[in-house]
Each structure stands twice: as C-alpha cells, then as structure tokens.
C-alpha cells in the first residue's frame, strides 16, 4: 500500500512542484496520473521509490517511511520506469541490460536467466536478446527499459509515459499487459497524456494541476467531465466528446468505452426504426 501524506516538495531552483498532496493507493490498484506539463506528475512518482524525499509530509510504502530507507531498498518493491529509455541503457546486449537490475538485487544466476527470458517474452523483444540496445528503434528501447524493471517482479510498477513512441498494436499489447499485471495483484501506476489509452484501460484516474490533485475517481467519471478536463488541460477521449454533444438525444453523457457506445447507438437506431414502422 502506498500512503502519501501532505507531501510538499520544492526543487532547489525554487519551483514548487508538489503542494500538500495526499493520496492512498491500495494493493492491486491500477492508477493513471494525468495533468498538464509541469503539473508535478513526475515529481510525485519520484517520491514513491525515494529518489526524491518529501520536504514536508511523509510517504509510506507498505508502512515503511521513504525517508528511512535507501532508494535501492525501496526499488525492490517499487519499480520505477523513467520516461526516456536513453537515460538508462548502457549494456552491450539487451540480455545484459535486463540482468543488471537483477544482479544489483542479488538474484542467483539461474534465476537471473529465467527472469530475463520471461521479461523478454513479456515485452515482445525476445528476438533482440543478443542485440545492442542502442541499435533498436525508440519504441523498442522503451520496451527494453520497461523489461529491465519488470524483470525483478516488483510489487508496485510505476511507469512514466509508457505509450510514447508505441504504435497501435504495441499500445494494445501494453494495455492487455497492464491489465494482466493488475489481475496478478500488482499495483500499476502510469503517468500519461494519452486519454484514449486511459479510456481503454479504465483505471482510477488522478488529475493533477499545479502541484495539487484537483480531481480523482474512475476514468468514466473524470474523463467525461468537461469542466475538470479543461482545468487540467486535457482533451477528453473522442467517444466522451461525442456523447457529450449527443446528450440532447437522451443518451447518457458519461461514456468512454467503445463497446458501451456501440450498444447505446445500436439501441437508439433500433428504437428509431421501431418508431418509423409504427
């Protein structure tokens, strides 16, 4: 369980990135943190494995105060994947890259090779096992970075902008993959601007604005509110926008899911045909 209690944080440059933030994330939750650039999303997730320590307030991971544990200790349970994969890739092969974290955490050798293969298959990069990570495309490097963290199987997985540079197929795979991790009882936290992706995943949404949480709740509630969205500078998913404008037809306005939308429209068409035939 993650407990963030009244956390404030200011960077040495004087930028006030977090202002009295409190949030509790239970085990096995799927959370998307959204908000405009500079809202404090990345600063917030960096508090979770102790890279940044709160200036005021406290962060507890399973009851452990992050101020009293090292980044390495916390990272064993909180796997943080940074936005830019180029900030961490350094090995000669993808295989070595993934093994790096496992070695740091003292996994035995046979376990390492097992976990490496598992992570390679999971992210669809097994064919690059012996390739240099620097030769891969941007999207592939991103998946390697994700694999390096997933390999040690942390209880909580935090990913900064997972969908950047991924094509539709890979995004769809990522979505299924996050859901799968989630059903296995892992806590998944993503930071993203990709509203369509969030609408598909349907997680708990936390909206940030100028270092504060301005709204949170199910994706269906948050991503259908015009008022909240405009304050946090996000564009609503297209389905939600469409249903907002179709509201006068007597359709519900809180729809973000394609299949739900399909049923509602089919229903409407059927009813109108029925009317005509009368």
């Amino acid at each position: 369980m993650i407990e963030v209690e009244n956390v404030s944080f200011t960077y040495p440059s004087g930028v006030e990135a977090l202002r009295e933030i409190s949030i509790t994330i239970g085990d096995g939750e799927f959370v998307a943190i959204m908000g405009e650039n500079g809202a404090g999303k990345t600063t917030l997730i960096k508090q979770l494995n102790g890279i940044l320590k709160p200036e005021k307030g406290n962060v507890y991971i399973d009851g452990v105060n992050t101020k009293e544990a090292s980044v390495a200790e916390l990272s064993r349970n909180v796997g943080l994947v940074f936005q830019n994969p180029d900030h961490q890739l350094f090995s000669e092969t993808v295989e070595e890259e993934i093994a790096f974290g496992l070695r740091n955490f003292g996994f035995p050798e046979e376990e390492i090779s097992k976990q490496v293969d598992w992570a390679l298959n999971l992210l669809d990069i097994a064919r690059y096992k012996k390739t240099s990570p620097f030769l891969l495309s941007g999207g592939e490097r991103k998946r390697v970075a994700l694999a390096t963290v997933l390999a040690w199987n942390p209880k909580i997985i935090v990913i900064d902008e997972p969908t950047i540079g991924q094509d539709y197929t890979q995004k769809e795979k990522l979505r299924r993959f996050f859901n799968e991790l989630n059903t296995q009882g892992r806590t998944v936290i993503i930071v993203t601007h990709d509203v369509e992706f969030v609408a598909d995943c349907s997680p708990r949404v936390v909206l940030m604005y100028q270092g504060q949480i301005i709204s949170e709740g199910r994706a269906k509630t948050i991503l259908t509110s015009q008022e909240v969205a405009s304050k946090a500078s996000i564009l609503l998913p297209q389905i939600s926008e469409l249903f907002h404008q179709l509201g006068d037809l007597g359709l519900p306005r809180d729809v973000i899911d394609v299949s739900e939308a399909k049923e509602l429209i089919e229903d409407l068409v059927k009813r109108s045909k029925h009317h005509e035939s009368l």
Partner: protein, 263 residues
Amino acid sequence: MKVFEGLKFKRVSSPIHRLDPRTKFIVSCVIFAQAFLFTEFLYLIILFVAQIPLVLLARVHKQWTRSLRGSLILTLLIFFTNLIVGVVSNDFQLTSDALTYSTSMSLRFVVLMTSFSIFFLTTSPDDLGLALEQSHVPYEFCFAFTTAVRFVPVLAREAQTIMDAQKSRGLELEKGGFMKRIRNYVPILIPLIVSSIRRSLELAEAMETRAFGAKKRRTSLYALKITREDILTLILCLVLLITTVYVRLYIPIPEVTIPIPRL
C-alpha cells in the same frame, strides 16, 4: 553539481553585466594574476573581501554562495593537504605558520573561484561568442565554444536524471571497494555519453536544415562596443596590476598569522 551553479549565466541588468565581455575577461585575469602573485594571508583576505562588492553589484550573490558551498569539499581538501604537509615537515608540530599558509591557499582557491564565477555569471554565452568573434576567432570555433558552454547545465541535469534512473534499478554508488566504486559509474557515464552524441548529431542536422555555414562571412546584429566604463575599468585594473607587482618586488607585506586555537 552545485559547482556548476556558479557558472550558469543569469540575465539581470547590472553595471557588471553591461561591461564588455572582453573587459570582464581581463578583470578576471588580473584577479587571477593577483592571487598567484601573493601567498600572504593579509593580501589574499583583502582580495577576497574586495570581490564581495563586485558580487553584490552584479546581484549574483545567491548563485555565488551556492557555488562556494559546492566547492567546499575541494576547499577543505586544499586546506587539509597543506596543513598536513606543513605539520609533517615541521616535526609533527602544528605551527601558526602552517595554519596561516593552508588558510591562505584555500583562500586563493576561493578567490579564483569567485573571479571566474563573476565572469561566467555576468556574461551571457552569446556575448562570449560575440567577443570571440570580434577578436577574429573563426566563427566555427566560436560557435562550438558557446554551444559547449550553453550545454553544461543541460548535461548536469541529464547526469542527475541518469543517476536517478540507475539508482531505481538498484545501483548503489557508494557500495563496494575503491575499484568497484569506480566501476559503479559505468552505468552513468555510458548513457550520458551516448545521449550527448545523439544530441550533437541532432543538433548538427538541425543546424544544417537552417543552412549553417552557407555564407563564409557572417555579420551580426549586435556589435560589442567599448564604452567609457570599460576604459575606466581597464585603467583601474592596469593601475592595480602595476602597483601590486611593484609591491611584490619592493615592499614587504606586514605578516599576519592565525594563532593556533588553544584546545
């Protein structure tokens, strides 16, 4: 990383900022020379104190103190190395002379640090490039130089992010013996170098799309002008330099020593 703060230009308007970069460079060199002419405690302390009004005048005291704090470890290292050598060469006796000498040496470092801080904090990379250009340095070199200076803070920030990313993968920089600790930096240096090379290639492409080097002779919109203040400052510097060289050669400086604190 704090040391870099002392070299990051901040755009404010002050009499020091308005001076010609060439003038400021000469002032810095004169202070530099001063610090090397004298080892006497008294003079170095005067030199140090004399720089403080300049820092305040340029309104960069915040960055300056931050860079001083950043270089504290190096200052202490200089102090203790000199002190230990002084004590060892004097039959393991702590003398007031040794204490004074090591304080002077640390002060000398602080003075040098300050003079370069003032220069870099008050001179924009653009002005610096312009000064080089107008001193007839080929444009390609000027450009390379200003770009390098401009990217120092970017690189510092990037190094920090990389360190955070690797720590999140369980890397413990302070773990292990001496060799292991050095090897711990490999996962930080490689991404730093690779991303710098990547960035420079991107920069080169971006420059090429904007026709870098299309014309041999470039004209610039802004031209540096030596003003009356510049000439005054330069004369002052010259007078100071001549006087101090004279003092150095012919006039003994009164000795001031730091007494050993009684324990």
